[in-house]
Amino acid sequence: MIEFDRVTVTYAGAKEPAIRDVSFTVPEGELALVIGRTGSGKSTLLRTINGLVPHFTGGTLAGRVLVNGRDTREYRPRDLADVVGIVGQDPMAGFVTDTVEDELAYSMESLGVAPDVMRRRVEETLDLLGLADVRDRALTSLSGGQRQRTAIGAALTSHPAVLVLDEPTSALDPQAAEEVLAALQRLVHDLGVTVVMAEHRLERVIQYADRVIEVPGGSTAVTTGLPVDLMVSAPVAPPVVELGRLAGWSPLPLSVRDARRAAVALRGQLADHAPLRPVPVEGRELAKCNDLVVAYGNITALRGVSLSIKAGEIVALMGRNGAGKSTLLNALVGLVTPRSGTASAAGADPRRTRPKQLVKSVGLVPQEPADLLYAATVAAECAGADSDFGVPAGSCQALLERLAPDIDHQQHPRDLSEGQRLCLALAVVLCGAPPLLLLDEPTRGLDYGAKRRLVEILRELAAAGHAVVLSTHDVEMVAEVATRVLVLADGELVSDGETATVIAGSPAFAPQVAKILAPLPFLTVGEVATALDRAS
């Protein structure tokens, strides 16, 4: 169905090709998973499939891409619209109309499909993706999962043979990701659609893949293979695979279900060795909310939240999209005004503190790290931060050097990869050395390597007496780093406790290791490894 023949893409003005000498085939009806680090060229590879590269982006393409027998050199993206449906990273950015039904019909209108056929296909797609209840809703009023499904539906209605998805679940909470993946499963199994998907969250998708295309970036060659074969040696792997490697299971299980069946012996071995968990050093109180109520118009975002966070803690804030996580973080830095109740950060009321002093007590890295960045180069940004926070010149630069050593300081902040941009924003915020550090969804778009580095940094900060609060959907990251978990639902705090007690029991929030080894209280592969060491 898709055939890449020695494809090399070089963007205009770039020294190095974005992808080099790629050859592979994806047969009809398969689900191919594209993996690789951020910035390794995954998106370029995906956009080559429908001709956006090079027709839309510019640059040179050497080699040949055949999709359903059509050569992308001769067909523009619009002429491939009936063969390839593509869903971008942010579904909202690709919406042309304003309601679900109109959006589903848009491609068909462009292709000139007859009105009665259009009507029928829209109804079919609404049922297939479970969108019938929201058919006349405005796109802006949808939840993240619904948006993603609408975007998939919009690509599907023109009955393309190939569906291309760029990180369909990375911005979604676990439940919404399940919805989307279930819908994709259905397409592959029932309709025989060929799906090519890039995703960082391997733990969510690896079990569904028929084929893995690994894009290592740089000059290393792209490899393809069966998921089981590639996972044995892949540098990035989900916890289930790492546990399998640790325990030496063969064949390597890719799903929790398979791993559970293989883990009977391991569970017996670990039964008497509860994981050692460091008791968090509890310092002075750095954040406090008392019966906090925040409302936007007639929507209540937080209803009566009380909490207290102490130095040395790393607190994970979890809950559905729209549960009030961002609002809580914003309230702690005074970006929103509480309707009643109080919020204080490092002893000060953030609404009444001047920004200049406030940044010395609390720092927030917003969901869009780019909002914090103004300068035209990384170096200028660092210099600006030094003067903003009144610290000696070079402080920010030194911090950045530690967080992300490989950044080119002459680059524009917007040209950095997602992970690098986060590190830059983090370095800027850390410049003021705020005792309380807040991070709003820091793991969006981060690969495993970048996440591991972030975990190390957060641990260091906590050990140095900072309190860290991060809102996230990434349960594996939470299991790895958090000492305490708060779960928000509909603006209320529904659970507050140690990580192990809160997430291990929950079906949605339990990390893979906990699911595999339940009822044993293990959360991460690292814990299992140390327990095994002690056992032997």
């Binding site: 956009r47 956006l52 027709h55 839309f56 523009r76 993206p77 619009r78 002429d79 491939l80 619209a81 009936d82 390839v84 449906g85 593509i86 971008g88 950015a93 690709g94 919406f95 042309v96 109309t97 304003d98 109109d102 019909a105 848009y106 491609s107 068909m108 209108e109 462009s110 292709l111 000139g112 499909v113 007859a114 009105p115 259009m118 009507r119 829209v122 919009a154 023109s158 830095v333 005074g334 970006l335 920004p355 200049k356 406030l358 940044v359 927030l364 917003p366 869009e368 780019a370 909002d371 914090l372 960045l373 103004y374 931060a385 903003d388 926070f389 917007r414 800027v428 915020v429 003021g432």
Partner: protein, 365 residues
């Protein structure tokens, strides 16, 4: 009778019908300065809006335009009070302190005596403009701007898409600007500059535009039949010329800027050009339309109601019927029977337009 012709079967009325009805009322308002008739038009429009508006965000625009109208009236009265001379009448209401002006401003007066005639004239003139604004507000409240753009003729499709995209982007820009202003606080800055506010917003908007363009391209936007470039240019030019003619004709019909025959001719030629070019331009459009809004009996009735109101007033004013224009500012406004009946026809859409579909979850099983 086909389902679309039913007056009581819930569905959304064609936005074009609402606009034609509202324009009819606006034309009617342009023919009179009698406050009784103006208030009647306001009430008719308000009644229909109350009866047939949806719960969409734009449905409140009638009230917004009403407020704008009040501002217009207020401004007009204020200016008149400040600048008026005794030319309109002699009933002095009160005297403001007068500013002495230099010689070259001879004939202009600032402050001084304020007469009842001047204030009332300003009130009626401003009222007329305000009522016309409210008619536009009624159309805005009743018809979704996006649906209206969707029903543009095929030849204007690209323009329509550009407007739809702008409609989506404008609120997004406001959201972005607010977010970025908040983020400035996080950098410890109190004041913003172009660099720290406008630049990030513009950069974000640019990124989003590129993203949207890529999405539209991959979804088949711009697939057209092959038409020679010269023919395309001629069609485009004729559409523009035609629209210009229509605008000129309507403007002069409403304001008496040109003689009636000239204005009517401009309107007719404009309509002919635009319609012809659009019909011709359809050739290169290969798109189809998903669930187009039907134009059936309710649409005809709504349009007719607006046309009837306009026609009554135009005929009445052409015949010089009493009561459309007041004899003087201070007389008690009369109630002319025929125009009142004509305007009351304008209320028909409150019953002739089908009710709106309620959301399924709001209807008891």
């Amino acid at each position: 009778m086909r389902a679309v012709h039913h007056l009581t079967l819930p569905r959304v009325l064609h936005p074009g019908a609402w606009w034609l009805w509202a324009l009819g009322l606006a034309v009617a308002a342009s023919r009179t300065r009698n406050p009784v008739l103006l208030v009647l038009i306001l009430a008719v429009a308000g009644f229909v809006v109350a009866a047939r508006r949806s719960d969409a965000p734009w449905a409140n625009s009638y009230v917004a335009f009403l407020k704008l109208g009040l501002v217009v009236i207020g401004l007009r009265i204020l200016l008149q009070a400040l600048l008026s001379t005794r030319s309109q009448g002699n009933t002095v209401l009160f005297t403001l302190p007068q500013l002495p002006l230099p010689d070259w401003a001879n004939g202009v007066k600032l402050g001084g005596e304020v007469t009842a005639e001047a204030v009332l004239t300003a009130l009626y003139d401003g009222g007329q403009l305000a009522v016309m604004l409210c008619c536009i507000g009624a159309a805005n409240a009743l018809a979704s701007p996006r649906r209206l753009l969707k029903s543009l003729p095929g030849a204007l499709y690209e323009m329509g898409v550009a407007c739809v995209v702008a409609l989506t982007f404008a609120p997004q820009l406001v959201v972005d600007a607010r977010r970025i202003r908040g983020a400035r606080r996080l950098r410890g800055r109190t004041r913003g500059s172009f660099r720290t506010t406008a630049m990030p917003v513009l950069e974000g908007a640019l990124d989003r535009s590129v993203e949207l363009a890529a999405a539209m391209d991959s979804r088949g936007y711009g697939r057209t039949a092959q038409v020679p470039r010269r023919q395309r240019r001629i069609t485009g030019g004729s559409v523009l010329l035609g629209l210009l003619g229509i605008a000129l004709g309507v403007y002069s019909l409403l304001t008496d800027a040109m003689a009636f025959p000239v204005a009517a001719a401009a309107l007719a030629i404009g309509l002919l050009l635009a319609v012809g070019a659009m019909a011709y331009g359809r050739q290169r459009v290969t798109r189809t339309r998903y669930r187009p809004d039907p134009w059936a009996l309710p649409e005809w009735l709504v349009t007719a109601a607006g046309a009837a109101a306009a026609a009554t007033m135009i005929v009445a004013s052409a015949r010089g019927m009493n009561g459309l224009v007041l004899a003087g500012p201070l007389v008690i406004p009369p109630v002319p029977v025929v125009p009142v009946i004509g305007l009351l026809i304008g209320i028909a859409p409150a019953f002739a337009a089908p009710p709106l579909t309620r959301r399924a979850e709001l209807v008891p099983a």
